[in-house]
Symmetry: none
Subunit: 257 residues, 2 copies
DNA sequence: CAATATATTGCAAAATATAGCAAAATATAG
DNA sequence: CTATATTTTGCTATATTTTGCAATATATTG
């Protein structure tokens, strides 16, 4: 085998396959091992891995690569990104909540921040499919929490599926706080089919929908279409001035906060 | 193995994975152990743990790290009473679980202990109304969790009410693990009306009911009647010998473990 | 309050990454 | 087939990151 490698140059494709296999079977792979095994320079492997990374087939890290399946996108990790922006958004959203209201909270991390800063004496009913949201309301004696049943997704720690959708359909709530994954002037979309179904159902069963969206997600699109953006009533970002970027949304009749 | 580790440098990501695994399986991990296990200096582990902490994947504490838990504190306190007995009960109960089964777990603390000691590779479906139980199954990739919707009781961190009962009625499961509050030869009872309704519903919708009961609760009664004790199929206590106290129950045809 | 254990800080050595470049391999056009 | 363009590869020099160590500070324990 090594005889072959030395004399017949290996195609880049073959190398890529071997790198991917090594990475996925071991969970990780190092430049050192790979450049010996494939008889090419470390630079070449580095470039290979960078390419495979950009194609999303593995994740390049210092010293090598790790398989993407081993990097669960845990909500606990998501929770910690852009935390300050999310807090600003949450404060703005809080001004929309009044006593006696019935609210939908989905599993978005900005929505979770909102749950965390709710005043303890607030007398509302919150209907959610998200464990972290429910946990955040632990010390709110007056806040009634209705949890939506269904199959538990251990990544986001929220329930999904037919049961959850059916649960949602039993209500018509005052406001839905919608954690936005991707928004463009045309469409609201997200990365998970079941999440998309859930968000649509919550929109359809609420009088008003408030989108919570960090600025970097404006004008982006994801795989799963939820609904047309114009269905949104209010859009909240962390920025103070409704600048250029939000104009296309105001045109749709969406109020910007 | 350590021979290998010494010569082949490990990627930081691999170390992180090992640290996370160690921390989540044991509940905690120490610098001392980790730096020996991973053959790096304590400083490196310290820095690793600090990084993982900032990402929210564990909590750095003096001397090491602890796993992050979303289980509310006051619940945890209740959890700690008679913990050793409950662990013994849980181990006995575990022998009754087979792959592919569908199970009801209620919100009892002995039942929670059972959830905690389930092998990670167990392939079962668990239907529960208890947040702590669902949380305990976070790292069990093969265990499907169906969460019962309903009104959240913030004391027990479990759902109750009409919705929950209706959710239960959609199933007929193999085994129900019943956390016993009070049991006499006549009746099963508990301190909360809604909990009583829930436990009865779970019994009615399972083929077999297994009662988990610390010895001090034998021959006691509480306010809310659930059903006749003879409906129970198996009764598990922490004691080894089916002594005098359990005779009245064997007479009813209940198997004692 | 002393004795011990654990943390923090700054630093230098080692490991790894990046950028620019030239040689080799491969592709393309005529 | 040749000449030219393009891509790939490995090398060098220069950043950057990671790591372990030592000195100092802080916390815990009896």
């Amino acid at each position: 085998m090594s005889f072959f490698i030395i004399f017949a140059l290996m195609l880049k494709e073959e190398r890529h396959n071997i790198i991917l296999e090594e990475t996925s079977t071991n969970g990780s792979s190092s430049f050192q091992l790979l450049c010996k095994k494939l008889a090419v320079s470390e630079d070449t492997i580095r470039r290979d891995i960078r390419e495979l990374d950009s194609r999303g087939l593995l994740k390049a890290v210092r010293g090598g690569a790790v398989s993407v399946s081993r990097i669960p996108h845990h909500y606990r990790e998501r929770e910690h990104t852009d935390i300050e922006q999310k807090k600003v958004i949450a404060k703005k959203a809080l001004t929309l909540i009044k006593n006696k209201q019935v609210l939908f909270f989905d599993g978005g991390t900005s929505v979770l921040e909102l749950a965390k800063i709710l005043p303890v004496d607030l007398n509302v009913t919150i209907i959610t499919n998200s464990f972290p949201v429910a946990n955040a309301l632990e010390d709110h004696p007056l806040a009634e929490v209705i949890f939506l049943g269904g199959r538990l997704n251990k990544m986001s720690f929220a329930t999904f599926g037919h049961e959850t959708l059916k649960g949602i359909s039993k209500f018509k709530v005052d406001v839905y706080f919608f954690g936005i994954c991707s928004i463009s002037p045309d469409s609201l979309s997200c990365k998970d089919l079941e999440d998309a179904e859930l968000k649509l159902a919550m929109m359809q069963h609420s009088v008003k929908t408030v989108g919570l969206c960090t600025f970097d997600k404006l004008n982006s699109e994801s795989t799963y279409f939820i609904t047309e953006t114009k269905e949104l009533d209010i859009l909240i970002t962390e920025k103070d001035d409704p600048s250029l970027h939000t104009k296309p949304f105001t045109k749709l009749g969406i109020e910007i906060l």
